[in-house]
């Protein structure tokens, strides 16, 4: 029920807000003048083409990759990836223990 009630509430407000937006556009249409300068992409005075301004979807998470995962990967590679087989076994063993711990914490696997 709570999902339905919040969804109805969200739906009503969305309709109202979107209606207000459409009303604003309708009202301002009478006195607004479309000019070429208005619709140009803002680039602090520099010339920029549409193609340069449009970014590919893969760039969406580029900051996450560069700022979070790459330094993490670099530091992990230095510490974990030693090339010694025993180290590899140790990390696999640790991963197994963590997996078991998580399964046990979640209530274990029910038997027959």
């Amino acid at each position: 029920m709570v999902v339905l009630e919040t969804a109805v509430s969200m739906f009503i407000v969305t309709l109202l807000a979107y209606g207000l937006y459409l009303y604003s556009v309708k009202v301002t249409k009478s006195f607004s003048r479309k000019t070429r300068e208005k619709v140009l992409i803002y680039a602090c005075g520099e010339d920029i083409t549409e193609k340069e301004a449009l970014l590919a979807d893969r760039h969406l998470y580029i900051t996450i990759w560069n700022e979070v995962f790459k330094p993490l990967y670099d530091s992990l590679r230095g510490k974990v990836h030693t090339g010694i087989l025993n180290d590899w076994f140790f990390w696999m063993f640790m991963a197994l223990i963590i997996a078991y711990a998580v399964i046990i914490m979640l209530g274990g696997v029910s038997g027959y």
């Binding site: 029920m1 709570v2 999902v3 009630e5 919040t6 969804a7 109805v8 509430s9 969200m10 739906f11 009503i12 407000v13 969305t14 309709l15 109202l16 807000a17 979107y18 207000l20 937006y21 604003s24 556009v25 009202v27 301002t28 006195f31 607004s32 208005k38 619709v39 140009l40 992409i41 803002y42 680039a43 602090c44 920029i48 549409e50 340069e52 301004a53 449009l54 970014l55 760039h59 969406l60 998470y61 580029i62 900051t63 996450i64 700022e67 979070v68 330094p71």
Partner: protein, 329 residues
Amino acid sequence: MVIEILKPLMLVGETLIYPGILFSFAVAIFTQWFRRKAYARMQNRMGPTYTGLAGTLQPFADYVKLFFKEDIVVIRGYTKLPAFLLALAIGALVAILLMLPICPYSVYAPYDIIIAAYLLIWPTVTLAALGFLTPSPYGAMGSSRLLTLTIAYEVAFIISILTPVVLASRILRAQYSLYLTSIYSWLLWTNPVLIPLIIISLLTAIISLQCKLLDKPFDIPEAEQEIVAGPFTEYSGPKLAFIIFIHDMEQYVNSLIIVFLFLGGVAPFVEGPLWAQIVTVIVKYIIVVLVLTWIKAMVARFRVDQAIKMLWKYIVPLSLFALIVSSII
């Protein structure tokens, strides 16, 4: 029977009037005015003074001005999709208000904290999407930075608000409900063992909220000296009014969540008169807003890597520690 028939009408009334959109608009105006005034005084400035008594109507004047300005859409930019996403975000924030005790007939159920967490993330997703709906290098850069911060501060904020929910549910049978936890949260302060956990999660919630509101030191996605206004660079008119309104609403809703979950809501007037309860909530709300403004005025902006390091090294582990301990004791 009559109540059952009137329930849908009450829901519509709550959504549109109190604590819904109309009341939220009034609180958003007050909050924006209060923050601008407090921020200005901390910087030895006057803040808004011209419109209304002590500039109280300045945010209202700003909203009206923006609302009746032309909606300029740049070449190859989306026209209606950003407006629809912004409307959805406002809807999500109003829906959360119905789950808090300020609502006369609150909406609640066991485990509704999951729905609250889902609704809390909506505005962030909307603001991040805005930068990609216009062809702007600043927009894309700002959205990318916002998404980077999101993976840290949303995690911290949700974990922080889960701590009192878990404690109240395990000890006081709050059933993992936002509303029931808000009602019982003041009892957590009566147990000396739980107080450190509440304080830790309160601190992490406030810092992650500062990041959620994109205020200093976490205003990296809209750092004006570097990327103009980030995801909002190409927006004007009613869309910009909606963006500012969402910011004010986020401030209002999240601060109220902190008041009810961490600061005990209406306590110490749980059994007291209604006016005393209302005044208590208002005072606590103003204190939360003042603390957030104080942090904003006190510190300089972080770089992206500094912010991420701070959030992942200190804030997330601290909030996680409080949550794990609260789920064990």
